[in-house]
Amino acid sequence: MSSIIPIEHSLILAFLLFFIGAAGVLIRRNLITVLMSIELMLNSANLLFVAASRQVGNVDGQVMMSFVVVIAACEAAIGLAMVIAIFRRYGNIKTEFLRALRG
């Protein structure tokens, strides 16, 4: 089966997904959508791991993929908690209100 789906296909798909996710981070003002875009980017990394695992013929890539899932879960949990806290503080979750770091 491995010869049927060349790894270049997975690579291109992963890159496209990654840039869709990155674009989402850049163009959206809604924090939740930004977080979802980050999930997209993480998923493209996952796809790369799995494809690489297939390519080199061992399971390390899949193991890494499961670690990435753990990281994604942590990121979502904390990110969403922060979204809730921000909502409580500012009354909305638009990113342009979060400018406390302006120098």
């Binding site: 981070v25 990113t95 979060l98 400018r99 120098g103």
Partner: protein, 650 residues
Amino acid sequence: MIWMVLAFPLLGALLNGFLLPRRSKFLSHGVAVAAVGSAFLCACSVFLDFFAARRPQLHFGFEWLRAGKFVAPFELAVDQLSGLMILIITGIGTLIHIYAGGYMKEEETTYRFFAYLNLFIFMMLLLVLGNNLLVMFVGWEGVGLCSYLLIGYWFQEEANAKAGMKAFLVNRIGDIGFLIGIFLTFRHFGTVSFTELSSWINLMTTLPDPYPKAIFWITLSFFIGACGKSAQLPLYVWLPDAMAGPTPVSALIHAATMVTAGIFMMTRMSFFYYAAPDTMLIVAFVGAFTALFAATIALVQTDIKKVLAYSTVSQLGYMVLACGVGAFDAGVFHLLTHACFKALLFLGAGSVIFAMHHEQDMRRMGGLRKHLPITHAVMLIGVLAIIGVPGFSGFFSKDEILWKAFIFPTYGPILWGVGFLAAGCTAFYMVRLLCLTFYGPSYQDPHAHHHHHEPHETPWYMWAPLVILAFLSVAVGYLGVPDFLAHLVGGRNLFASYLEGLVYIPTSARSAWTHLHAEHAHSLEWGLMLTSVAWVTLAAGTAVFCYVNRPVRGIAGFLGAHFPRVHQLLLDKYRVDECYQQKIVTPLAEISTFLWQLFDVRILNGCVNWVGYLLMGTSGIASFRMTGSLHRYGFWVLAGTVGILVFSCF
């Protein structure tokens, strides 16, 4: 088995400190006694094993520290000295633990008390068993810590907390000496293991200069450590204050075991001291004068525990004197007998205090003989033992020390004379204590007590340990009957021959110590002995004359009226504490304040603040790109990533 000896007290401390429910006093007491008792049984077994084999045994635990050439294994050694010490520690420890259950039964936090006490036993065992200076130092610091915790056990009162702090700080001075000693030892010999060090010293015979100057400094440093722990001049000041702790603590830590650590340590390193005669002279004089100095202060103290505390300092002075004149075996023997009778005296005093509802002033006691018959009997035995009445243990050990001092070639008779005077003082103040407490009419202040309980005898589990200790106070003396007396019945000094393998004089140093084994006329020995017996009898008789059935104020007035300045000086304990306060503590505090103001506030804080101001001033220049917009930041991160990717591809 040796590890079990260590494990039981540690387990007891952990159980009482962290794991067990804290409500039940019975449980905490039981666990503590069981822990120390089991340790005692194991120690007996270890000792018998050693005694049968007659060879020092090393027990390697694990490699503890390694740094370059420096290796410190966690290694235990069982030999004549540590075998004896673990018996003393766990045996007397067990008795005192049993006693403490009764003494502390009105306390709320007995678990804390017993956890500390068990931890102390563990640390003390570590101290005596360690086969190198570092393990010993761990124990050394550990017992210091436990002592601090237990002195300040009633920390709600500021005086007690301060006494604990004082003990800790004064001990630190000694500890610095100890540490410097360890550093010097490692620098010169490259090892900290006792076994290796002793073989080094033996090898040094072949060197052209058998006594390098370094040994003088090493031994002096260790002696400073011993001064701190064993309360010698000038570092003795913490021990009287340490009586702020509960009486069983005073008995166990500040009389029987911990304070003898200095003597133990010097004996452990006797091979060093034999090779440093100059240090030995200093040691001998410090010991002798401490003995006299503390004994004179004890003459006029009115607090029963303070008298015993100064007496302890004085007796420790005897032991140090013994070490100083090269009679380490006599010193250790006195350590053994002193552990028995001083523990007995402290516990007896504790029983009196307990019966008097925590009254410690002897002027308010008196006539307790009929209320506390058992306590009286055992206290009497203890007093007879400490003042050196023939037939009791103190007699044999103290006379051995005085005799060895007398034959010391440098200033021997002077040392003997100082010790002799101190012996008289000892007899006087101990008999005074006995008379004020147990004989004559009662001077209880009837208004001071809300309750009208008569003083009553303590429960059996408090007096039973006393009886055992009283028996020991008599019996252990016969282990060390001097040779010239023992020859009369065809025996010899069992104790000295027991220690023979341990306290040996390095070949290089042998010429300086010929007097120790030289033959002397028995008539001289007899004469000295009879003189000291007569002197003690005289002093004791004076005390009886002065204090039995006499109103206390009258006698105090009598003495005070005739020697007012001397009396006041003694009452003020030679004003040593005040002197320390004025000459050392206050200037130190002033210097510290000055340094704090100058260095910390001005220079250090100033530097840090200045850097901060600088950055705050300049950072505005670079911050125009900090728009605070997440998207802009994200874009640059992404652009950077792509840039790196492109760069890495071409």
